[in-house]
Each structure stands twice: as C-alpha cells, then as structure tokens.
Amino acid sequence: MDKRQTMRAVTVLWGCLSLTAPAVAADFEFTGYLEPELQAFPNKGNVQGQKRWNSSVALELTFEAFWEKGDQYIVFTPFGRLDAQDGNRSHADIRELKYAYIQGDWEFRIGFDKVFWGVTEVAHLVDIINQTDTVESIDGEEKLGQPMVAISTVQDFGVFDFYLLPYFRERTFPSMSGRPAFDIPVDETLTTYESDDKRQHLDFAVRYSNTFEDWDVGVSYFQGTSRDPILLPTFNGPGSLVLAPFYAQIRQASIDVQATKGAWLYKFEGFVRRELKEEHVQATGGIEYTLYRIFESSSDVGIVAEYIWDDRGANARNIFANDAVLGLRWTPNDTASTAVLLATTVDMETKALGLSLEAERRFGNDYFASLEARFFENIPASDPLFSFSNDDFIQLRVARYF
C-alpha cells in the first residue's frame, strides 16, 4: 500500500473518530504479542540471494476502547514484521482501525477491518473482502486490513451485511531473496488495473446468512476489483523477466453451506465469477469428523477431507484446480492446548503432492509456540506450485503474549 495514501486514510479516519468519540468513561484494553521466527530451508534456492536460513520477528498490538456497555467501541491493531532476508516481508499493516456503533439489531462499522466468510478448512473460496498477506503465510489465512463502511443487521429471517470498500489493497509478494517464492519475481511497480480508478475503485459486497437448525447457509455477492491478480510475464526496466500483477474487475456470486450432524460436519462453498468477459466456477467441499476420547483418553482425533475444483481445469492461476486434501488433527485437550495437524494435498491432474505439519502448544501462561513444516514433492513443471518445489521449509515461532 502506498505509504502516503495510508497516512491520509489514517488521518481522515482519526479525524472522524475524534469527532464521534464522546468524553465519557470508557473501558480500555491493551493486548498484543511479540513473536520471533526461525525458518530453515533444507534445499538450495533456485535464485541467487535465497538463503537456507531466515529469521524474523513480528509484533502485533491491540488497543481497544469500549463505552456504553460495548455498544460503541474503537479497535486499533497495528502489525509489523522485520525480516532478515526478504525486504518485502519486512512490512507493516493496519489490521484493524475501526469505530463500531451498535443500536439494537443494527451494527455500523467504519475503518480498517477484517471479515471472514466461508466454512471449509483448506481453500477459502468465498472469502473475498480482505486481501491476502502472502508474505506472512502461503496458506492464505493471513489478511491485510481493508478500509470499509459496513452495516450489519440481525433479523428473524437472517443476518444481512452490506459493505462499501473504497480503497483496494494489493497482494503482498516475496522479493527475489524471499522464500518460498516464485522463480520469476513479482514486480509490484508494474501493477496495472482494469479500472481507471485503480485502487480508488469503489467495491461493494452484500451477504445474507442464516441458521436453519443443523444448517448454516451464506449467500454473498461481490462487485469490484479482484483480490486475486493475474500475473503477466514481462520485462522490467533493466530487462529482467518479471511478473506484473494485473487486477481485473469482477462480479462474483457465492454460496457457503455447512450441515452439522452430530460428530460429522458437511461443508460446501463455491462461486461463479465473471472476469474479463468470461465466467468460471470454483467449488470446494468435504467433511470434518471427530473421534472423541480415543482409547478412553481425553484425546480427540479430527479428520478433514476436502476436494477443490476449478472448472477451467489445470491453470497457472490456481494451485487448487483439481485437488484432494486429507488432514488429521490431534488434540489431547491438555492444559497446554496442544494441537497437531498433519495434512496432505494431491493434485489429481499433475500428481503434485504437498505435505504439511503444524504443531502448537502453550508454555506457562504467556508463551505460545508453533511449528510448521511444508514439503512439496513430485511437482511437475506444469504445476503452478513448481517454483516452490525446492522451497520445502520448517518454521518455528514462539510468541510472548501480553
């Protein structure tokens, strides 16, 4: 995000906030974490400058002020990371800076915020409000704060959410020396847009969601700048081959459904998207099943099986075009909140294989450690993950919460 524009957005918002914030007693809360990280890459990088080791540190702070029994509040969550190798990964973001006002069944929010839509565990297809902070994690679950005006209302016939999104956030990409990364680097200075309004294009979204006994259903519509750029190979100024992000205008209708039947969860989400005069469909679905108290212990084992589908078939833009995922989650329900997740992803077409291990636990009351390992095996050159094939990594994070 352009720094001057960020500053301007923050200044304007802060102005609005100081006007609305009354001089009444509010409850304040200050929380956060400091989290050093160590990464190891067992294989040599494809690109010069890529190292076997990396270290970084992340800091997230949250300031909250509530008044009128929480019917009005302000939340400010800045986030930043300092990375030893990758200049693009050293970045700061406003995850949240919002003022919210609740009046009965209505909720009004203005500012930077994060919104999640969807039900599945692996591919988050219908989740579109926020841009992905790719340099934070390649799983797509880390998001950049999105400036918005949002109105929500809870009625007997369901929940309606309306969003006006006045400013676009570009996806973050690793630099030449970053890992895991594409072999051809993304040059963000060559970013182009379909709309002449570029980042100022006013996007909007609307969502209806409701619970019908065991069924949770959401139907959404989005119109505006695609969060998912088309990466066009091109030559930059000095004549090197780079990828230039192009953000098209899209219209997208989506649905997400979950049926909760005892220990079984059945999930589906999918969308129809119109982009550059072409329509295409993506969908994902599967099950989550939990075996409770295995062998009369207090441990649970969860099984996640999902399939992800793109009607365009194997294509360079989507790592999940015809992929099956099987995951096993072990939670002993101990004091340390230990959890271990093993997952394997198979591309049914290219036979590319992804393996991941995520393990986490608490130490004492304030420390939380998470270990993540990802291995990419048998990736053919035709697979969009090919660049990652030598970027297997093991990553350890230890957070100190306060």
Binding site: T31, V119, T211, A263, Y292, F368
Partner: protein, 312 residues
Amino acid sequence: MTRFSIPDATPIVALTVNLKEENKSMRIKTLNACTIAMAWFLAAMLIAVPVSITAATAEELAGLETLPGADDPAARGLAIARETERRDAGFGDSSATMTMLLTNAYGETSERELRNLILEVTDESEGDWSLIIFDKPRDVNGTALLSYAHILDPDDQWMYLPALKRVKRISSVNKSGPFMGSEFAFEDFSSQEVGKYSYVWLRDEACGERTCHVTERTPLYEHSGYTRQIAWTDTTDYQPRKIEFYDRKNQLLKTLTMADYRLYSDQFWRSHDLFMENHQTGKTTRLTWGEIAFQTGLTDSDFTTNAIKRAR
C-alpha cells in the same frame, strides 16, 4: 400450561368480531380493533392472574411440604430436582466473570479467566443460551463460545476465532472432554435442566451443618461422559453441595464441592467456589465466580453469531 389454555381461545372470538366489522370505515375499524384488543387483554389478565397465583401457591406447597415419600425413591428424586429448578426459574439473564485455577498432580498451576453470559430460556423443553468469552490465557483472548443448549440433543454451538475473524459452527456431541484443559467438562457447568437425567433418591443425611437429600442421577444424554452422578442437595435451599461423577466404566472419577453460596435478588443462590477433584489423575480445578449481575438487560440479539464477534 393450563393457565394459558383459557386466554388462548379468546383471539378466535376477537377475530370473528373483526370480520363482522369489515364494512365499517377504517377509523371505526381501528377503534374497534383497539377496544377488542383491550378487552381481550383485560379478559386474559382477569383469567390468567388468579390462575397463576393459585398455581404458584400450589407448586410452592408441592415443593416444600409434599415431597413424595421414601417408598417412591424415583418420584422423590425427581421432585427434589424440580424444586431446585423451580427456585432458579425467572433469573432472566446473568453475567459474571470466572477464574479457573488448574493444578496438576505435581502442584504446577495455570490460570484461566472467562466471562459467562446466560440468557434464561423459559421453554422447559429447551436449555438456556450462553456465551463464554475467554480472556486468559492471553493467546486465546477474545475467543468466544456461543451455545443454544438442548436437553437431550447436542447443543447448537459456534466458536469465534479472533485471529481469523472466523465464526465456526462446531460439533457439540462431545460435552465430556476437558474444558480448556481443566477438570471441568462442558457438561458439568452447562445449563442443568431437570430433563437431562433420571433420578433415584437414596437417603437423607447430614452434610456439614445442613441436611442433604442424596440422589443418584443418570444422564439421559447418550454421549454423556458419565454412567451416573451422586448429588447432595440441601433440604433448606435445595442447592447442590457436592456431586460425585462416575466414569463410563462406573469408577469414581471426580468430586465437585460447591461452597460460598451467595443470595441474589433475595431469591437466587449461586455458589462462588466450585472445587473439582479428579481422583484418577490427582488433578484439581478451582472455579471461582466473581460478583454475578442479574437482569442486566441481555436479549436474543446478544446471543447471535454476529454478537459473538464483538463480545466484551
């Protein structure tokens, strides 16, 4: 139930009158509708109020004086549970903070801090609504659990994960696992409805300075973690003082001791010190409630999948 059956018939009369008035002008029609509504309301009040007073008096007597005798232990056990529930009816909503001190067999401790909001559901065939918000450990700060409790079916539950801003509907079949690593299972402190167990009164005996009814209760929920529980309920306030939990192999698993009872609104007793001891592992959890606020004005809209994202 009977007290509602009489006024229920009156709207039919009102509707018939309304149809007859159809040809008259709008203003008269509205006036008439108002008059009819008022009359209906007055009639309902006249009929309902005396009936409810009589019913309450009868129930009061039934609870205290005419507990079924020792010759019918099942009826006596059920009546004791009903009396406990009756004394808690009408609390409306409550909100409180709680801390849990977890101690393992080696004496190592860890702490949990939560807030608990409850909305009473008066329908006897349904359990209450609750919202539990986690404050500590700090890594789960802001995580929230919304439950619509059912009597014999799994509850409807949603978990809010603040890092992802995600509300996730979760399976609630298993209520018997450790809650946040403590010796309490969700089953142990979720809303205690009469219909969740079958009862057999065992004996009356001294419990501390009081006398207690000792009742064996068998969970009817098929996925319960227990084969049976033995509950000590005092004979003056009808509050549980001690509960023994027997695991699925019918071995004594845990004992819960409730102390520091405080009276709210001259009517509702709440234990502020719940001590759970696991006899099989040697671990303990002490759950301490802070001051409880009743009738704080919570409504349905504080217990929605939207509200759990901003729970404070």
